[in-house]
């Protein structure tokens, strides 16, 4: 096959990769994208999108089951059922619709997509073994966007009943007994969903609490809800290995005792790591930061004109961070002056209730040396929350005590993920508490609690 030469070569077709390619093409750069698997990456195929579909189906079924036993709102339902195969077909439909959209976008942007694993020979040359033969590509700029992969637990390799989130998003049957190893957001989201459609779920977490990256005030609500849903959470517990006779997971409890947890499926969600192997990256002189590719505030690697975006550059491994990096890199390559200067990369846990965080937590703000003002407003005092039967949770503001500039915004509650956009906007614009208090918020909505929290911070709370 004739060698291709282009301005920008993007290695990986996930959100970081395809967005970078589209933005580069928009800016008039001749762009080639190499992807061995399906376009859309982890997020679209085996991450954010399919998991949110599954969570929605589980929530709906859970609601129907509640109605089957009578409800205070006067709705009743007889004998609700869930057909997991139909759920999965519906979920796959969404995924393929979105993936088709990505193909369409790349086609319309005139981006050449090469199917196969791209192996970098040096910082400018890539070789891809495609179905049609070997394709050599030389590029002025290379963008590494190879993403991340699930981390297996030593002694508990994937295979058989031991699965990663990818397989758990495509179970054929509802597992009667599901053990989740790792109480981070991925494990809790999936564990909660399967609990709601009927699995017996046990979560095994090695730390002393779930969602260790989030502050305890937020996670306490999730912990309480897990208890109500009947999810067993074992803290300070270590997975020791699989007992094939059962099958069952052997664990060491916090008190030192051993325990056997019978399981039809064992879902290991202890984290994700940058995907580095198999792309020739080890041949390049790339400086690493831990297990991720080291980048500067322009996503430059230690090699000239070699860039890296997304999960392969380490935490936080979030789609929206990858996309923001990807757009910036394309713009820098096109000659624009840019650097990654985001005030906040908000994050959401689609647990029950949901958690949203943007900017600094109270502890992080204090650790950064700020004197802070802290205020929160509970959903129990919000009309919309009452009408939604979603009174659990609160919105919280962290601001500087001296000039009232907002440093962080957090919330826990049903549906609070949708508050993230306003949170991030406030932080990026450098809003003060007074700015938020002076902004008209629609009544009756959950978002009103943000303004109410601002009023509380100013000592002017109206409904508190």
């Amino acid at each position: 096959m004739d060698p291709i030469s282009c301005a920008v070569l993007v290695l990986g077709g996930g959100p970081g990769g395809y967005v970078c390619a589209i933005r580069a093409a928009q800016l008039g750069l001749d762009t080639v994208l190499v992807e061995a698997g399906r376009l859309g990456g982890t997020c679209l195929n085996v991450g954010c999108i399919p998991s949110k579909a599954l969570i929605h189906a589980a929530d709906e079924f859970h609601l129907a089951r509640r109605f089957a036993t009578g409800s205070p709102i006067g709705v009743s339902v007889a004998d609700p059922r869930i057909d997991l195969k139909a759920t999965m077909t519906w979920k796959d439909g969404i995924v393929s619709r979105l993936r088709g959209g990505v193909y369409g976008l790349l086609r319309r942007a005139d981006i050449k997509v090469v199917n196969g694993i791209g192996i970098l020979r040096d910082g400018k040359t890539c070789v891809v073994d495609t179905d049609m033969g070997r394709q050599e590509i030389t590029a002025e700029h290379v963008v590494i966007a190879t993403g991340s992969e699930s981390v297996p637990l030593p002694g508990l390799p994937f295979g058989g009943p031991v699965v990663s989130s990818t397989e758990a998003l495509a179970f054929e049957d509802i597992p009667a007994r599901l053990v989740v190893v790792g109480g981070g957001y991925i494990g809790l989201e999936l564990g909660t969903a399967y609990r709601k459609i009927g699995s017996e779920v046990t979560v095994v977490e090695a730390a002393e609490r779930i969602l260790p990256q989030y502050d305890a005030e937020l996670t306490r609500r999730v912990m309480a809800r897990l208890g109500k849903l009947g999810v067993e959470v074992l803290l300070n517990a270590k997975a020791m290995g699989i007992d094939r006779s059962g099958p069952a997971l052997r664990i060491e409890r916090g008190d030192g005792g051993e325990q056997r947890l019978p399981a039809d499926k064992i879902l290991v969600t202890i984290g994700r790591r940058p995907r580095l192997a198999g792309f020739g990256l080890e041949e390049l002189d790339l400086r690493m930061s831990g297990n991720a590719i080291e980048i500067d505030d322009q996503c430059r690697t230690s090699m000239r004109n070699v860039w890296a975006v997304g999960d392969v550059t380490g935490e936080p491994m979030l789609e929206h961070r990858a996309v923001a990096q990807a757009e910036m890199v394309a713009e820098i390559i096109a000659g624009e002056k840019r650097s990654f200067d985001k005030v906040a990369i908000p994050a959401v846990c689609f647990t029950d209730p949901e958690i949203v965080t943007a900017g600094l937590s109270p502890d992080a703000a204090r650790a950064a040396g700020f004197q802070i003002k802290l205020a929160s407003f509970p959903f129990t005092a919000n009309g919309r929350a009452m009408t939604l039967e979603a009174e659990d949770g609160f919105v919280r503001i962290v601001a500087r005590a001296d000039n009232h500039v907002v440093l962080g915004l957090q919330a826990v509650g049903q549906g609070v993920s949708e508050l993230s956009a306003g949170f991030a906007l406030a932080l990026e614009m450098g809003a003060t508490i007074e700015d938020i208090a002076a902004t008209v918020h629609v009544h009756p909505t959950l978002g009103e609690c943000l303004r109410e929290a601002a009023l509380v911070a100013l000592g002017q709370g109206l409904h508190a």
Binding site: E217, R338, S339, P362, Q371, L374, A375, A401, M429
Partner: protein, 438 residues
């Protein structure tokens, strides 16, 4: 909880000590495995010492600018043992308590959702007289340092400033909480165009900035001082008519194959030096004056003085005698790029036997280059200028370039130095000779 001591590893062949150039961590900082604890500089290469484990910085030995021997203790880390969770937790709790106490403006006790129950009538929080005393109880060094303020500006303003080349840290914001507005950036730009603010004419500037000379700059300073103190320099300047050389160069550049680099004067000069040094071998040498020994080299390893953002660096084109003119050009390009981006390897920065220095368009008419010790000769290139030259019957416009060279007078006599430069001049004035087989 366990302590781990990080010592200066053996960073390179024969390096006994290194200078600390950066310590990006502070005592009390949590660090992750792989994070840089200390950067040290040895023989022009900077080496980052990474943390071997997750932990917290408990002690930092040397200060920036200090020289330490291989094996010295640099940093002590508290790393988690088996009781990781508990051990890590206690300092965090302690520090957050500290941070809360002296912050009288916090509306309500942190960590309490009962914040919402704050009576609306509560007056704006004022520091009560009792509070400062509480704050004073806290030893000052226990207070976390106030973070450097990041300029407060909306994303569109940040992009606007970046496009205009304005660093927002220098812009005074006039919005709420000193937020920087578009008008503030415009005002800054207008001021910058007018020059520094001097509203009432001339003013005395009494500022004195103290700058520690460390790292590469310090090494350059030491070496220059040492070179000039020890070596009696003999300088010699000669005019070279490069009209024919420039014609040849222009022709080669125009007709060169695609993919070949554009030739500057330097590769021609390097080839000419290789040829000239065959007749003057004592100049291609390194003088070990401590042992009264001169090492004459068969190979010609030409140092190329290169300006980088940090200062002068001399990468070395090895074995120029075995390189074509094209190879010389590519090597210069590769090495100077490596030097400028700080990725040149140690072996690429050492071992030269003679050095070439050129300031390009800034070449001037004469320079007095300092020898790159322990070499014995350095050739400086001055700028090419069109000058009237008397050629028998008339003045003719000719392209003239001066060569300003310095020699170690202990080893090289003036006569020999002049002979060498004359040989070099003869080659450059009739450039075909550079490429003749001998």
């Amino acid at each position: 909880m366990a302590e781990r001591v990080i010592t200066l590893p053996d960073v390179g062949e024969g390096v006994a000590e290194a200078e600390i150039v950066e310590v990006p961590v502070k005592i009390g900082d949590p660090v992750r495995e792989g994070e840089t604890l200390v950067s040290v500089m040895t023989d022009k290469a900077t080496v980052e010492i990474p943390s071997p484990a997750d932990g917290r910085v408990a002690w930092i030995g040397p200060e920036v600018g200090q020289k330490v021997a291989v094996g010295s203790e640099l940093v002590k880390l508290d790393v988690a043992g088996d009781n990781a969770a508990r051990a890590r937790k206690s300092p965090t709790t302690a520090s957050s308590t500290l941070a809360d106490t002296p912050s009288p403006a916090v509306t309500v006790p942190s960590g309490e959702e009962t914040t919402s129950k704050t009576p609306p009538s509560q007056p704006p929080p004022m520091p009560s007289p009792a509070r400062p005393r509480e704050a004073a109880r806290i030893p000052p060094q226990a207070m976390p340092a106030k973070p450097a303020d990041r300029p407060l500006a909306a994303p569109a303003i940040r992009a606007y400033a970046r496009d205009a080349g304005v660093d927002l840290r220098f812009v005074k914001g006039t919005g709420p909480a000193s937020r920087i507005l578009r008008e503030d950036v415009d005002a800054y730009l207008a001021t910058a165009a007018r020059g520094p603010v001097a509203p009432h004419g001339l003013a005395r500037n009494t500022g004195v900035e103290e700058i520690k000379i460390i790292g590469l700059r310090r090494r350059i300073a030491e070496r220059m001082q040492d070179t000039v103190r020890r070596i009696p320099h003999f300088s010699y300047v000669e005019e070279v008519d490069v009209t024919d050389l420039e014609a040849l160069r222009a022709d080669i550049n125009e007709t060169r194959r695609s993919g070949r680099p554009r030739l500057t004067v330097l590769p021609f000069l390097m080839r000419a030096m290789v040829t000239a040094l065959r007749d003057h071998p004592p100049l291609n040498a390194r003088y070990d004056d401590a042992n009264d020994t001169l090492y004459r080299y068969g190979g010609v390893h030409i140092g190329i003085a290169t300006q980088t953002s940090n200062g002068l660096v001399v990468p070395v084109v090895q074995h120029a005698e075995a390189l074509t003119i094209w190879d010389c050009a590519s090597e210069i390009a590769r090495l100077s790029e490596a030097a400028r981006s700080g990725i040149a390897k140690r072996e690429e920065l050492t071992g030269s036997t003679i050095t070439l220095t050129s300031l390009g368009a800034l070449g001037g008419i004469v320079s007095t280059p300092d020898i790159n010790a322990p070499e014995v000769a350095i050739i400086g290139v001055n700028k090419i200028a069109m000058r009237p030259v008397w050629r028998g019957a008339a003045f003719e416009p000719r392209k003239i370039m001066n060569l300003s060279s310095s020699f170690d007078h202990r080893i090289v006599d003036g006569w020999d130095a002049a002979q060498f430069i004359q040989t070099l001049r003869a080659l450059l004035e009739a450039p075909a000779k550079i490429f003749m087989e001998t």
